[in-house]
Symmetry: T
Subunit: 157 residues, 12 copies
């Protein structure tokens, strides 16, 4: 595997383009570009880069996961609403066979009962929920650690 494949695919599900705007009580005030800048910085400090993709279309998410199969080493995914309804995204993740870390900004256990079920959780390495943007940031660290066999926080170089 070549060096430039040290990439992580970051997938954002539906309505996350509104982050920082909609329902700050549930989702906080940081916007998606701000989150991605921070993700890029963290990835960089660990020798990785990120490829981000947000879509409100289930099919587009499926296809992007498929398309990156050969180009990335893992998937950090916030499936948002599709967490609870999309077998297609589950199947796409199963098909590419990459390690997956699932993240949620809000605590899905505090909300409507239907939000407790995830079609991704049992095929992921692990899941982080309720930590706001930290779900992404720490989830990224966990994913790279998992891939590299690292543990804990990235060491200052």
């Amino acid at each position: 595997m070549s060096e430039e494949r040290r990439r992580i695919l970051v997938i954002h599900g539906p309505n996350l383009n509104l982050l920082g705007v909609r329902e700050p009580g549930h989702y906080g005030q940081m916007t998606l570009p701000e989150i991605e800048r921070e993700l890029a910085a963290i990835a960089g400090s660990m020798g990785y880069e990120i490829v981000s993709f947000q879509s409100n279309h289930e099919g587009a998410l499926v296809e992007r996961i498929q398309a990156e199969r050969e180009r990335v080493r893992g998937v950090l995914i916030n499936p948002a609403a599709y967490t609870h309804t999309s077998v297609a995204i589950r199947d796409a993740l199963l098909a590419v066979g990459l390690p997956v870390v699932e993240v949620h900004l809000s605590n899905i256990h505090r909300r409507e009962a239907f939000r407790r079920h995830s079609y991704v959780a049992d095929i992921a390495v692990g899941q982080l929920t309720g930590l706001g943007p930290d779900s992404y940031f720490l989830g990224l660290v966990a994913l790279i650690n998992h891939i590299e066999g690292f543990r804990g926080l990235p060491r200052a170089s």
Copy 2:
């Protein structure tokens, strides 16, 4: 609040004293003292210290949570088997009113169905599962971040 109260209570539930020994397929090979050393280091880098407690006794866990109420700023808890059966620990956490982050070494969504339900999850800030010892390490960062209003990885000082 005095300076020395910058403490986090770390609670380990039943059988975690065997960590690194029992069922490494589910729980990994790191021992509890090793995890606690790393937790102390991370806490230290963020201006905190940790107070750890492992017990196989539900009542002892309840009492330690009660006892630390005035002495810590948050609780990092791996309730282990009591996750699924203890309303008493839930009530102790509700009683002390401190922010809680729940962690699990293994992916509870991949195991027996009864492990999917947690009596802590909906009263916690958030939950990290399946990340091995990183569930603890990143969970600690998330908890201190939550308390301090920080976000992301601790900055090298």
Copy 3:
């Protein structure tokens, strides 16, 4: 808010482009353009105009709802099949925070059991089912009445 924002977004879910064609036993014989003409007339008589959108794509419906957030005062929605499966549309409606009235042409309580559950109903102002095109027409009156604090039928001016 400027005057030209006296607009209602009318959302039609999947397969409603076939209205008047498919299964007249369930859905009647009026076509979508005919329904929209009547909706426009009713809206006009109440000082409003309508913006209509039909799509068979869940993501497209999500995005249109997002896009109209600043431009309309309420949403009249017939989510059709997505009523029962789309958390993404629910989340989009929650995100824009506009008053919603949900309508169904057929009586969803008389059909397959899965059609009784709606992901929209509990976040809507109200729901009209089984009234044929009147579900739309009267739903529009109800929505504008709700926004304006009116009640009953629009008064002849």
Copy 4:
């Protein structure tokens, strides 16, 4: 059928005599007589008159529905609490074989889980919920439209 049979039976279930008084958060501030005056006006504009009946007694409601069988052309019913518990009212409506429109002032999908089930919904033409008094007013229009084969708002004569 004679001309004077252009009547609609309006049935109000238990506790609706308190309308405008009890729990305005759920049920609004309009009283039952005020609602009935408006209903009469709307019916009149459509060539109909209404016959109203409120009772807190399930049996009385059953008997009034039976008694009007030959005298009215449709039933507009807010079964209130009996929506969820009365098979007897369902059977009375089945027995008279008249078209029924079911209305609820509040959004039954937002309240206790038991309020989501209606013994009337699947035998009614349709159902309007959550629109406040408009559930009645628009429900009446829908019912007369259904009977007459009309559609949309009554035309100014």
Copy 5:
């Protein structure tokens, strides 16, 4: 009906573009183009031709089904992940009113519990599961037989 309408629409749901690549344990090693070549040959031997469509987008599948309504005599569908979640595809199939045969490469009864429910099965003529590519090939024969009133294997001409 003209001669050139002796066509069958073959619909492939999400992730089937990866066939032959992903999870060969579940789905086998034949690719989609290989399957379609064989389908075309079988159809040809029975006096039919096939029109194929694969999409990862639920809406695109809905629209293609709608679009072919007048042009084909039946639908052979492998809804893949949408089998379990799409009421919209069900409604599209209901709307076009064509005979449908549902096929699955893998045995859906041997996998996760959620895969046992199909939104298509009860509106289809029949279902073939677990036969690998034969689910398609034999399903096509069954569909044409159903349309033509044939039975058994196509006769050598």
Copy 6:
């Protein structure tokens, strides 16, 4: 394994002796002997012969499956009513360890809810439902294909 073992056991469950007689709406008009003649022809064209057995006795079906263990290469079974109630037949099929294809003349998904559960489906290679006698004919092809590693329709020799 000797040549004469190229045999398939065809098992017909209870009431199938009435085929062509009872409820033609569900089961069609072809009789069991007619179906078996056609099965024999298809098998013959693929180098196989069939051994058929119909019984209304659960125990007799169990025993015939046991008895043929060494003599056949696969089982084509229509368990009829025992599909839904017989663990004994399931256990017999498990015991003989032969490949099984399950067939149903009618579409079991369109009938009473209890007909949707099969004690055979998850231990079979696959299942064909709703295709009338074609369920048998195509199921036989699928079974021999599965045994021989063939695919598609038998080639004219």
Copy 7:
């Protein structure tokens, strides 16, 4: 006990006053007075008389059952809609401690699922359903037989 207490209380639940009128498909064409005449004749031939009571009011039914406690030797009851919803009638029957036979004109197992549950069945001697007026007539024989220790048809005297 005096001779004139050889009486049976016959209870008819809500809407049964419409018998012979409403929904003859479910309930047949015999009216309640006709049924009661026949019941009186059968009772007479067995040395009993009947006391009949029909009400649409749950409370009235409760009170009549209470009132007859000392005056009758058994209760023949068709609770109609209250079969499925009335604990009060169950409690009244328990309170009077008389033998009860429950009857239904229509087959409650063929109708809506909620009609399968009876609050009376497990405290009754037995239940007759689906036999039309014969449910009453034969139920009366069964009840008197049960009281008298008779069996079979009343003997011609």
Copy 8:
């Protein structure tokens, strides 16, 4: 239909050969031959004869039902334990298309929960439970009445 076809098939399920012996608390003290003698007498008084069959074998019961299809006008059945487990008997009854009355000696609503479900009840004319041998005797009257359009008790000739 010839005169000698005025016959009723009386089917007794498993363990009923022990009647009068086993568990008299549930089943009474009358033996099966005694019951059959009385049934014959009642049938005779109504111009019918009975054909009785008891078996502990599900398959034998199925076959007898099939065999009598052309020879009897109705089936009086006490399926005993098979009531709750036999789809095969249900299918046999559906196949012969004769009117069926289902009887139970004991009150199935007072016993184990699994005894409340019957695979026969919804395809029968009606059901009599809990009346001891009277379930048979009155059930026979009901069945012949149903066939002949009679009602009430057989008239003394």
Copy 9:
């Protein structure tokens, strides 16, 4: 509020008029008038008087609760059978907005499963079950204590 409004409404549900008579195993031997005399004495000792109402009619209970809204300070209710079936009484209690204490003579947790659910419990201050007449007597103390901010037993004056 005037002095004479120091009144408590005591509501007794259906069949409680038989108290002391029916089923003493469940309900004890004290009659309703005896209980009310004792209630009056206790109320008197606490500066209150009681207004009692028993009815077997759900509607009558609803109306009495409504009627006393302005005249009493709290409701002590034994809804008896309506505990488990009456949303109308629940709604009446919600409508009057008075503090409610729910009492049951017998232990509802030891009886039929349906008696465990109460439509009143979650809107009451509290519930006393299984204490016989003490449920009433102590419930009255609890209710007046709740209203007055008292606690424990009434002090001897």
Copy 10:
């Protein structure tokens, strides 16, 4: 039995040592010692004394119940969190065979669904919930009344 055995065991479950401190919204402001003082006074006025025990340890509660078996005449228990999870306490109560009254400070019917189930309720004499400290005080009166055959409030001596 000697005079000094006129004792009641009062058991307080986990976290009740925090009473008056934690969550006053649910549990009020009285502390456990204050409650016990009042309990002692009430018991004294009725000729009894109390023995109190609070523990956060399920096993300790079990052992204390066992140990007091011969020394007390009844048990007043607030099992707190163990209400919902401890079969061991249920078994200990069953083992000692003493009369038990179960009390809860808060209304368990208004809180999380899991709090509605009690492993004690169906083996207790009765249950008092939602009355704050009065649940204890009145529960004690009820328990002693039950033991002594008293009824109502203790008489001033």
Copy 11:
């Protein structure tokens, strides 16, 4: 009771004739004759003899249980697949009223969910599962001990 009645009936359900052949992973390698020889030896050492019966026919098992009613003192039964589906065998065991010990070679709690339910367990003295042939051997000791009032291992004579 004569001496020669010191017999135990040993019942083996369907497919157990294949023991030692089918699925040794679940059922081990000992054959049924080998098990019976050992059972005979154990019985002999305790003064008993065994009567064995294996059948794949539910009805045959029912009849053998009936037939041995007077001739044996207890039943050792491995109902195999009929454990989960046969009410008829349950009823036969209830009818003969003999003590029953139920045994399973494999651990039914580790297999498919439907194997956890037994129609025999709650009417048996006890159950042994998962011990391989020891389930039979030790079950026989337990059964004879139960009959004789013995306990523990048979004493060497």
Copy 12:
């Protein structure tokens, strides 16, 4: 492994210290020391010794299981009440990885529904229930047999 490790850990759950005292109807009259003496004798005859531990504390049971991990060859456990509620004991048993046999004195299938579920059964070798002290005695034989590859009763040496 040294000779002195031929030991079996015998674990007795909560309330078993009362054996022979509490509820003899369920648990018999033998005391725990008596059972242990007999167990020691049986073990001795098979070349083993036993280590016994009873506790009412879940945590103490967990710790003893952990502590004996290296010192015993198997665990004979009667988890009593913790059977149904303790995931911690399950996890301890999983952690030590020793063969486990689960025993119950009473027949858990005849009691409250919650006693049918065991957190131990599916991780044990097997389970014996309902045999009184024989559950222990025969369970010990089964466990040692399992460890040693023996079968049947211990041979007299």
